[in-house]
């Protein structure tokens, strides 16, 4: 799930600078702010996807531990 999200984010990050060059008007000193907006947004969503992956992994570990303890208690 999150691998797909990460792939999406990477594609979008790669696309962004390619498009930035196409509009040259005055006020180009605003460009850093525009960049910052996109960068922060993608980092935030990427970070959240990563956070969810970590939680999923923790859950898996817990389920395995639980399953083990169930099997052990059934053997006794």
């Amino acid at each position: 799930m999150s691998k797909r999200l990460a792939a999406l984010v990477v594609i979008l990050i790669l696309l962004t600078p390619a498009m930035l060059g196409s509009n040259h008007t005055e006020g180009e000193d605003y460009l850093p702010f525009l960049f910052a907006v996109f960068a922060v947004t993608w980092v935030a969503f990427f970070g959240y996807a990563f956070f969810m992956t970590r939680k999923q992994a923790d859950l898996k570990r817990e389920i395995d531990i639980l399953r083990q303890s169930i099997e052990e208690s059934e053997e006794t």
Partner: protein, 224 residues
């Protein structure tokens, strides 16, 4: 599973469409220049942040009324993602304010209410993490969600009236959003759709994760 994939796929496509519109199609605002394009990210995210809080309150009422654990998972997931969107809204708002108005922050009613919304979300998540897990935490969160939801419009009113008394604190030629041209409206709507689908996708994922967490929690306590 396919529902999730559709959501992810469509949000991805919409995002790319949005970027294309922002960079290749939309005209540059005469007064504000390039930085106005931040608007197409900032405002949709703001609207989604408020939408997320609506989901929180729906889940909260649902939990208190029906004791439905799914409603509670929905509320929690929406709150977490809501914090994410609210934080992004505040940051992009500041990044928009600096080039346009010259200041990082201004106490406009929208920004003030958004800041308070951020605090209410945070309070919701904190009460849930500090209260005993399970039913009690869910109940506390639900009450907080309902109170917070009713409070937000009151905060907005108070902030608006405050601004009427202290106008010099809010600065800038376009303190309110002016009228938009046709192309800008379309780009904005695409942005709204893109972020809403992204929100829906993230909500589904977090909701499922949350239900699994509760299940594991219950299993752990019944076997220890």
């Amino acid at each position: 599973m396919t529902g999730r994939l559709t959501l992810l796929g469509s949000s991805g496509v919409l995002m790319m469409l949005l970027l294309a519109l922002i960079f290749l199609w939309v005209p540059t605002d005469i007064v504000l220049g390039i930085s106005q394009r931040i608007f197409y990210f900032h405002v949709p995210m703001a609207l989604v942040a408020f939408l997320a809080f609506g989901v929180v309150v729906v889940g909260s009422i649902g939990y208190l009324w029906k004791k439905s654990e799914r409603m509670d998972a929905l509320a929690y997931a929406a709150a977490e993602i809501g914090v994410l969107f609210t934080t992004l809204m505040l940051i992009t708002g500041m990044l928009w304010a600096k080039p346009v108005w010259g200041v990082w922050w201004t106490w406009s009613p929208q920004l003030t209410t958004s800041l308070i919304l951020w605090f209410i979300y945070t309070a919701y998540l904190m009460i849930r993490s500090y209260a005993p897990q399970g039913d009690q935490g869910a109940r506390y969160g639900a009450v907080m969600g309902i109170i917070g939801f009713v409070d937000v419009p009151i905060v907005y009113m108070a902030a608006k009236w405050w601004r009427d008394v202290h106008p010099e604190a809010v600065v800038g030629p376009l303190a309110d959003e002016g009228s938009l041209e046709g192309k800008m409206v379309i780009a904005f709507l695409v942005g709204l759709l893109a972020f809403t689908t992204l929100f829906a996708y993230l909500l589904m994922e977090r909701y499922t994760l949350r239900r699994q967490e509760s299940l594991v929690e219950r299993l752990r306590y019944s076997h220890v």
